[in-house]
Symmetry: C4
Subunit: 198 residues, 4 copies
């Protein structure tokens, strides 16, 4: 299955100021995340963010933070104690009151974008635990953008990718995302995509 920009959402996991310096190849990971966010803006893909105990680990970098529709603080490593799932699946969780409105006044639920891209740190902790939770929702396709993920130790990161792949998560790179969202060199956004990816 190729990625379709109109069916995708992106979750940026814990790219935080006091965590990133400890991540192996942290600068490179952040740079890939910036490109991913630029692509998401270009293709109008919704971006959500999470921050792990932000009072301790600090905020995400401003350029990533500003791209997020909402940034969810969290304490659990996976995102199950935040409203993330409700944000990802608005149609599946309609507001209770909506049903009492006359039909012509009800806003049709936004169709769920069923492909959820995850990127962030640490690959083997918060990214992995969030991916595993999302996998239990059969209606979602869980994709991890591997080169925009990092761990303090490469061995943990690589073991995370192997475990995720074995569980059925699709592993992609930022470049795959860009060229699958674009699909054609005739798309007017080609020049911008190439500028982001070179």
């Amino acid at each position: 299955m190729l990625l379709d920009a109109n069916d995708c959402q992106l979750v940026l996991v814990d790219y935080q100021a006091r965590l990133m310096p400890a991540i192996a190849h942290g600068e490179q990971v952040l740079e890939r995340a910036r490109r991913l966010v630029a692509l998401a803006r270009l293709f109008e893909v919704p971006v959500w963010g999470t921050e792990q105990v932000p009072d301790k680990l600090g905020p995400m970098p401003p350029e990533l933070r500003q791209a997020c529709r909402q940034v969810l603080p969290k304490a659990a490593f996976d995102a199950s104690d935040t409203p993330l799932l409700r944000l990802l699946q608005p149609a599946a969780a309609p507001a209770g009151n909506a049903r009492s409105l006359p039909k012509h006044l009800r806003k049709p639920p936004e169709p769920t974008r069923a492909t959820v891209l995850l990127a962030g740190c640490e690959a083997h902790v918060c990214v992995l635990q969030t991916a595993m939770t999302l996998l239990e929702h059969d209606e979602l396709e869980v994709v991890v953008v591997s080169d925009a993920c990092g761990s303090r130790r490469d061995r943990d990161r690589d073991a995370a990718f192997d475990r995720l792949a074995a569980e059925g998560v699709v592993l992609v790179t930022v470049e795959m995302v860009g060229f699958e969202w674009l699909r054609s060199a005739r798309d007017p956004r080609l020049a911008q995509v190439l500028a982001e990816l070179k």
Copy 2:
């Protein structure tokens, strides 16, 4: 499943003059492509080619281009907006008029060669997107010749191979192709195969 020369077709993807210098180990990739094409000629395996926006990226090298029955220009990264699928599956897409001919005048449809080998650049963009599209056609077996594929970054290439394998694509090398098409050292083409592969 071993490769059977009589059931194979080969698609050369975007080995173009202004793309190849940017590919990691580009010279080596081209050299593998040349051997693959020599093998295809020897075993009378049909070869098709694609060129991505050829006005910008230039043509394939002449020795690859001349081996192709047809070279399809394209703008989409995957081959779905070219006639490629119709070329690969002549039996599945008979000309509409054929049915009105008297039976004895109808040319029997050429049986489809159901194994489609892909090789080219970039592994994680055009090769991957084309392979994913072909995979949706259950009657085709999709094979990627890994050592004749390249990307600008090795990491993207390797991630492409992992993703393709996870989706069910068979990954082979040029040498595997040569010796599976040959099958036996008694085949009179042995000397030529060995000359191509040494």
Copy 3:
């Protein structure tokens, strides 16, 4: 499936005094084992140990040995000729007499902790053979903690991991274990987990 501390048991396989000096990166493997044991203590995860022909290969290091509820000497490379399975599955193997007691006096069987984590040496001999035996018990989830396992040759170790993964064993690292047992930064054991893993 994420690891749940309340459903886990840990088996330490043959970390023995006269075996470990022959293991590639043996000191590092032992250090990972020590962390794993500290995590097990913190989360009250039962720990069992095995010692291969201890009269010849010596005992486990005291700090690992003391963490074990029981240490089983063995001669077979897999654990099938020890009482290990009965220890892992107390509910599945109730004492014969229990049924003759009046119902209100019977102790309810301890529910089985169905996730069995294995760590030890050699990865491709005793760990692999024990994992393969446990895999035949469908009610158990078999997990191998890869960075706490070693072999004399890395190639044998890596081949063991590939074979185990192909058979359906889940491969994790010590850090994954710690953060999955913890689940949340709000857990009061956070500081201790971080101290063990840094």
Copy 4:
């Protein structure tokens, strides 16, 4: 599934005098093959051999050759044009005349050893093609002893292992074989196995 010496047969593929010098790490591959053969002798595992166009590539080394019940010359890369399958499956292919004998005179067919271990060169040609052919026989378990296999280029060898694993072949190392055939340190053959593997 662990290997059981009583259910195994070993096929040595094309370890020939004029091929081995071209194999990457050829000496090491041969040394692993010698150990494998010593283990087979110790556990009375039948050994068969194949030689690819022996008039051109020469014979196997004598110490391997002498271990074989039969050495089959061949021209095809896979073993399908030799009597190999009939040798591997005597019960499945009883001599036609046997049925006409009175029952008490008929020799009961030797039960098939259903696990076929393959080792040899080149990994991506003759070993791979033979393994793929054997895989079509559902009653056989196909195992490749990876560290006793070689190719001229490591990349072809590694691609062969990946493809074989994807097809369902079990990949093991010589050490795994030794310790699975042995199973227990109480087996009187322990000292000999350790001598072969150290």
